[in-house]
Symmetry: C3
Subunit: 340 residues, 3 copies
């Protein structure tokens, strides 16, 4: 069982208190017992510690806390993340390639690959070293998947999709389905525009459960490195998303839109097609972005505006009844003045 000082070494922190304390697990503050370590987020350094039973706490450098024992680190949340993995290491789904998986003869599997039961890998598809494909995954033909990827059960990856290294794709995600592209025949009938483009997913991306990323007619749909998509997100065809951008659940990006790097979106946001969102823009949940946002700012509302304006307008919009009353009164007073 690791001692507190060993835990501290692991996360590059400094012990204040008894470093010989044995730590058997990591827990949330409320659930932590005498041999657990818990963490206190930066900015929340004054928790009620009267009921605390944890053996030790991870705190930010500079925190005044000295609770029976603490470990001071530059970023408590990242230290917590590291210890979560330490105490709960991910177990591989299976060993090697399951006998019931169907692997095309022309597929290329690098070393140390795991493929779960009933998964399918199509012609000419290649999977990089150490990647793990769980059960019921369908990988169409001519797909490239990098090394150290983790593909959960029921993911579908359509033909010609390129996936980088260290990519995580959660269950039910569909990568490379046809974009929603139709022309109209003379009689109004919708005519399908074939969708033959690629989807390219950069290194370190993570894609949520049941999220869809569409392929384009002929151009590419691109996620740069380290893009994080939550569940049930819709990425339209020919969208480009810059690196480190994070998009919350149920948000939808319409076709051919360009999203910058380090953008953060709340849930249920909708963004129109063919618009541009600058690097670093933050978009509040449920916003409807109808045009380009050319500089870094925080936006909200349908249609979107700067968050500060939106807030002001929202407060005012909730008091319209009061205003109406006031307007009436003013009109009366004007009338009285006019009659004099």
């Amino acid at each position: 069982m690791p001692k507190l000082k060993e835990i501290a070494a692991l996360i590059g922190g400094e012990v204040r208190g008894d470093g010989s304390l044995e730590i058997t697990g990591i827990q949330a503050m409320a659930a932590a017992g005498p041999s657990d370590i818990a963490f206190i987020a930066r900015g929340k350094e004054n928790p009620d510690i009267s009921c605390l039973r944890a053996g030790a706490l991870i705190v930010a450098e500079g925190s005044p806390l000295a609770y029976p024992a603490v470990v001071c680190v530059p970023d408590p949340q990242l230290a917590f993340a590291r210890l979560l993995e330490y105490f709960h290491p991910r177990r591989p789904f299976c060993s090697g390639v399951s006998a019931s998986a169907a692997i095309s003869e022309t597929a290329e599997l690098a070393v140390n690959i795991r493929i779960g039961p009933f998964s399918y890998v199509g012609e000419n598809s290649r999977i990089g070293a150490n990647s793990e494909i769980h059960a019921h995954v369908t990988i169409y033909r001519d797909v490239q998947i990098g090394s150290d990827c983790l593909i959960y059960s029921n993911v579908v990856i359509r033909e010609n999709v390129e996936i980088g290294n260290r990519v995580i794709i959660h269950s039910g995600a569909v990568i490379g389905a046809d974009g929603f592209g139709f022309g109209r025949a003379a009689d109004g009938t919708a005519v399908k525009i074939p969708q033959k483009g690629k989807v390219i997913i950069g290194d370190g991306c993570e894609i949520g459960a049941n999220t869809c990323i569409d392929r384009s007619t002929i151009e590419e749909t691109v996620l740069a490195e380290n893009v994080k998509l939550d569940n049930l997100v819709q990425i339209g065809h020919n969208v480009h998303i810059g690196k480190n951008t994070a998009i919350s659940a149920q948000t939808g990006i319409s076709g051919s839109t360009r999203i910058g790097a380090q953008v953060i979106m709340g849930g249920q946001v909708g963004i129109a097609d063919h618009v541009q969102i600058a690097d670093g823009v933050m978009i509040a949940a449920k916003s409807g972005v109808t045009g380009s946002v050319k500089t870094k700012m925080i936006i909200a509302g349908i249609p979107h505006q700067e968050l500060a304006s939106w807030r002001k307008n929202m407060v005012l919009a909730r008091n319209l009844a009061e205003w109406k009353e006031k307007l009436h009164l003013m009109e009366k007073r004007i009338k009285q003045l006019e009659e004099k």
Copy 2:
């Protein structure tokens, strides 16, 4: 073929009319023929019966209707539900465990379990008596599923999830995917916070198609008994939902939010993270709930307000052009007064 009086006995009702009438099926009002029974919802007791061809009607106690024949019951809708099951009993998906299912040696299956083709049950997972698992279901390791459950095709249940008795999970639902939790490294890169917590689903819950319920870093995501989720719903990590709460399609609940019991939400609602919704609150479709709702009330809007206020404000907000006109006129009149 059952007689009307037998049907009445089945649903605890009283016949008014010819109890010897043979009933061969149950139908919607418009489609019912002479040997069908149909139902009339409480509060809709004055339908146009001139075109009605149904053999008999189920009506609420106290209804004045005496249409050739009626069966009076306390709740016509529940009686209708019971007869639907009577005339259209659900057939089991398959008998026993399919030869093509992959069941881990350490999995425990109770008696009378059905598992469809290509389903997978991981190590140490346990499935209770009479439960039915359809085709292409992936059950990871250390999962507990109670008795009398019904899991449709293509459901994914991740490791350590606990599911009660009489739970129904529709196709494509993903239970226990990683919550959307990231820290930021010094250079702005998103760093994954491991998600190692449990998801716990209470007895009698029903979970819609392609709905996602995420696992948390270390705490539990919990649905109490009898929670009903529609399709494409997103339940964030560490959310708790109280019993009998019903949530309509495409609604999303952000992380660590607490929803009370008997709450009803329309579709496409979004609820912020870390807020509390009291028992019995009703939330209109498309609402954006940005803070806690501490007492039972009906809310609507983005951001949410009481439904009555929202309605009033919405009406006013649609007449802003008129107001502007009025404001202009008033200003003019003031100017004229000032000039005198």
Copy 3:
């Protein structure tokens, strides 16, 4: 390698320029090289051609463009669609019925059917000629699928669903899951209303990835011919959708609503239950439609109003702070007048 004049013949167009030019592919304007053909959409006839490297362009009849070589056609987008399929023909997923597919003995497969690995076809289900079912598809019992259909991996089609000819269903779509129907017992507990109705999908429909179309208690959920649904769409039980209607991603239609023909909806629209939308209505993204729309018009907003009014009101609503200021000033002036 086809010559430009042959390409022109294929799309019923007329060459202006060198018809003997060899064309090896089709590309987007920016990416097209000297042996590629690209297209210019109607209404965008004045592109910057100074950097253009394409061998030839498809342009609309009447376009003044004569760029080294052009092919004039009535509808450039449809010509483009046809050439996309010509240069990138879809390859069949597999040949015949995979050895690992599980086909019920009572299922009927017409000629020239392809079924991928691990797909399941239940009792009494019938699949029409030339249809292609990819991997991991679950087709329950008593399903009818027409001819020339294309069903991508991980689709689930529940019992008694009827699908026409030339239907495309993308990965993860769930057709025929139970509608969200509950009664309430005396103690407030939700009681499931069985969902025993059919889903009927007309000829030429296309259904997006992870989209859900629910079955009803006893009536039918119907998509007429040529309805196009994008990804992550929710179609409630007993909804009818008219022909040629197109619905963008993440939109939800509540139960028993009737949508006309040639309706177009943006993304993330929500429509209330039991309402009617007339033929040809257009609904802007993120609208919340709370009641029937009886004539052809363009609507937007929550609750919906005519687009023109919505736009006007939105502009006004963004200037409420200014108005408040003005109101204050006016009040002051009135007071001053009164004091005189």
